[in-house]
């Protein structure tokens, strides 16, 4: 029944769109749900703004746009001003606390994940910070099954990066 609107904002190169694809793939192909994922990004491939939207629902998703995000994931300070107004009252705000500093308490619950520093220190690769955030998100919300997400990572991530991405996701599950 429920329709969950997820908005992910960050900068190019952080895997914003991949995060959206993973959530959508897990929901749609492995969790028996319906999902729509859309995206937009500025023209520069690295460092420009990036946004992914995912809607997960038990039924076919009619309106494909995120209107008020149930879950807002902010991975860069730059994204705060742009997307914070899009969060639904009472929604969940997930931030990469290493990069997002300017969030004030408001009508939302904050899940603060030091994803970039964990990725940097433990994985030696900040690129997988997004997977740590997804792990933490799933642990916190139970939005999708862990097995579904792991399968989604298997099919969506290039062969040689699979192990690292799975490891980061699993590390995220240990948080919170």
């Amino acid at each position: 029944m429920g329709r969950t609107e997820i908005l992910i904002g960050g900068v190019g190169g952080q895997g914003v769109v991949l995060s959206g694809i993973l959530l959508g793939t897990a929901a749609s192909l492995y969790d028996g749900k319906q999902a729509v994922q859309t995206q937009s990004y500025s023209s520069e491939l690295r460092g420009g703004s990036a946004r992914a939207e995912v809607i997960i629902s038990e039924q076919r998703v009619t309106d494909p746009e995120v209107r008020k995000a149930d879950i807002l994931i902010l991975m860069a300070e730059d994204a705060v001003g742009r997307y914070l107004p899009k969060i639904k009252p009472g929604g969940l705000l997930v931030i990469d606390s290493d990069l997002v500093k300017g969030v004030k308490p408001g009508e939302y619950e904050i899940l603060s994940v030091p994803a970039t520093s964990i990725a940097d220190k433990e994985m030696n690769n900040i690129v997988v910070a997004n997977l740590i955030i997804l792990g933490a998100l799933l642990k916190k919300t139970g939005l999708l099954s862990i097995a579904s997400m792991e399968k989604a990572i298997e099919v969506s991530v290039p062969q040689k990066a699979k192990a690292l991405n799975l490891k980061a996701f699993q590390r995220g599950l240990e948080l919170t």
Binding site: T25, L29, Y30, V155, S156
Partner: protein, 286 residues
């Protein structure tokens, strides 16, 4: 007593009663040179697809030649020919058009396909003027000449060496002749047809109506005489300085070399692709 029959009339589309060229136009001589080359190679019109653009020279194959002919938009015949050749690799594809069409508006297609070295024959009738629209200046019109769009004389530098451009771009066969050299032209067209690669032939051709008369060069005969006087073979030209070559028309087969040809390269690429490609990108397949 049996009457003589023109050997190339059998190549003319039966519905065509006469050529559409002005009296004395060199395009007709080019047309016959092409047909003589095809006949000389014992080939048939069905071995060819002809493509032309817009302008007087485009009317050489369209509708004159009794073959598959695509008469395309201005400047684009080589681009259309690209698709035809890729679709019918076993056929000979020949583009016939003018300097305005192939070099001015369509210059980049000429350059890029010479670079690709895709097998096709491109014959460029270079008359130095826009004939069909009434004698406007072309990039090939000599500087200072009065035309309908340059009533005070052309003030742009002339495009002197189209063939040189095509050579620089990478074509594997390039020749230049004038309509005063129909035999040599035919011999080069024969070679061009047999060439595995991009074969370009520039033909300096008289437009007595829009060029000759208006520029004071004279009629068709005077223009041919002028070509005869100014032509110099590439072999002779090599012995002369740039200064000495001023105003001369360097004729001959300028380039004839073997290098990778695109249709063959595409076939090679396909084999590679069929031999077990990696999984598709981003299908998210389960």
């Amino acid at each position: 007593m049996s009457e003589l029959v023109h050997p190339y009339h059998r190549f003319i589309r039966p519905t065509v009663t006469h050529s559409s060229f002005c009296p004395g136009c060199g395009d007709g001589t080019i047309a016959q040179s092409i047909l003589r080359a095809i006949d000389g190679l014992d080939m048939d019109m069905d071995d060819f697809v002809f493509v032309s653009g817009i302008g007087c020279a485009a009317w050489i194959p369209s509708p004159l030649f009794n073959a598959d002919v695509l008469h395309t938009t201005h400047g684009r015949p080589i681009a259309f020919a690209f698709g035809i050749k890729m679709g019918l690799t076993e056929k000979k594809v020949m583009v016939v058009s003018g300097d305005g069409d192939l070099v001015a508006i369509g210059g980049n297609h000429l350059i890029q396909n010479a670079r690709r070295n895709i097998e096709m024959v491109v014959i460029c009738s270079n008359n130095g003027i826009y004939g069909m629209t009434g004698g406007q200046a072309a990039p090939t019109t000599p500087m200072g000449v009065k035309t309908t769009t340059t009533p005070y004389g052309t003030f742009e530098n002339v495009f002197e060496d189209i063939s040189g451009l095509v050579i620089a771009a990478g074509a594997s066969f390039v020749a230049r002749w004038t309509t005063g050299h129909p035999r040599q032209l035919t011999a080069s067209i024969k070679k061009a047809i047999q060439k595995k690669g991009f074969a370009f032939i520039e033909v300096i051709s008289q437009c007595p109506v829009q060029f000759g008369r208006k520029m004071g060069v004279g009629n068709a005969v005077q223009m041919l005489e002028d070509y005869k006087n100014r032509s110099i073979s590439i072999q002779e030209a090599k012995k002369l300085s740039k200064e000495e070559l001023k105003g001369r028309i360097v004729v001959g087969e300028l380039v004839d070399l073997d290098k990778p040809e695109m249709v063959e390269e595409v076939t090679r690429m396909r084999k590679k692709a069929m031999g077990g490609a990696e999984a598709a990108v981003d299908t998210g397949r389960s």
